[in-house]
Subunit: 241 residues, 2 copies
């Protein structure tokens, strides 16, 4: 019966976040290329926590304060000056990241994460942990907002595609009366749901990152369920649920 | 050759308009339910001009100043207090509207129209004049922004569907590197491009207006090429190009 189920909505850009009520909601932060993919990989490979920060300066600062930490982040497709590592999920295998704190600065994803203030729960989602995210949501019995990080506030295809995947997989459990969600589901249907990377090769962000030679990275980000963890925000850090 | 063609972009909500450069661009204002549908109908049926205004007070005021004018507008699906007519395209047949000025107040569409300041040309689009709009754009050889009025800044399916129709019909003539445009085209593909109204019955706005008994109105708005005119903004009024 519609109305008795919790609702599921999709926010297509941080610039539209003010239109949604996030109070008591589970918010899923989505930044497929590449923040939330890297977060899933690092935590699944044994990092104790990921601390997302907005600026390179803050990243360097925190890295000095925390023992056994890695500072990471890119600007314009290159490791940012003063940091040690990049924003690629493949850079964080278990033998490197296990037991460490990853201090990660990204632009779009981190900004959105810091914008959500009053949610019941904040988790991060990516194709690498799609099923784990869906399983988690299905057990919450709460309203859900799938929040796309976008690109400098511009709608992007990869985050929306992921939102459409989640909405399509969970549609029977939620009351969906949100045109953004319907649009995301149409886009997911158009992709066929399997060969994610071929579908995303047409996207602006793919083309932008491919120009930096990051094709393999994006292929990694488009792999399904390689890192089945649920990164959940506790205070200022993301840990495995 | 990509790059030598003008570009075509889609803005999904007035809240995202600041991300787009409208200078020297042809902007198509889209408010399918129902402002830009009503504008096409009224002008095609012989209204000399349509003056879109933001408030009911302004509408009443202008109506008094202009002889042979009709004041029109709705709030919450009913004719607004102090105005004479509603916001339905079927209310403006030739024997009523011919030779008159329609002063029309709407919320979403009018607001967006007034937000665009520096475009080369502003026209309005709807399914009722889809082909006329496409023919017009094809002759301009300029960058195009398809601007969706949305619903109180929220993404909506019907405006995006129309943007997808235009983009699909004109894709060979433009350089398209905009994920919003790709998304709109996927949505248009999903609709099949023919039975527009069946597709839109799932949309939030359809459900909202259907609750006011406006199903026939929306069916009218979903009819293809019934009013083949191009409403173009000259100063503060829309006239037939």
């Amino acid at each position: 019966m519609p109305g008795s189920r919790p609702k599921l909505e999709v926010c297509l850009s941080p610039a539209l976040l003010n239109l949604y009520d996030t109070k008591d909601t589970v918010v899923v932060i989505i930044d497929i290329f590449r923040a939330t993919s890297t977060i899933a990989a690092a935590l699944h490979n044994g990092a104790t926590r990921v601390i997302p920060v907005a600026s390179v300066a803050e990243c360097i600062d925190l890295g000095k304060q925390i023992s056994n930490s890695i500072t990471a982040g890119e600007r314009d497709g290159k490791i940012a000056e003063g940091l040690e590592h990049g924003n690629s999920p493949s850079e964080y295998p278990a033998d490197f990241v296990k037991g460490k704190t990853l201090v990660l600065t990204t632009t779009n994803g981190t900004r959105l994460l810091h914008m959500v203030k009053d949610a019941a729960t904040i988790i991060t989602g990516s194709f690498l942990n799609l099923e784990a995210v869906c399983d988690f949501l299905a057990k919450q019995n709460r309203n859900v907002l799938l929040a796309c990080s976008a690109w400098k506030d511009r709608f992007n295809l990869e985050d929306t595609l992921f939102a459409g995947a989640v909405a399509s997989l969970l549609q029977d459990q939620y009351d969906i009366n949100c045109d953004s969600t319907r649009a995301a589901m149409y886009i997911y249907n158009a992709s066929g749901g399997k060969d994610i990377i071929s579908f995303l090769k047409e996207s602006s962000h793919y083309k932008r990152l491919a120009a930096y030679g990051l094709e393999q990275d994006m292929e990694y980000c488009a792999s399904l369920n390689l890192h089945p963890v649920v990164p959940i925000l506790r205070g200022t850090e993301l840990v495995v649920f």
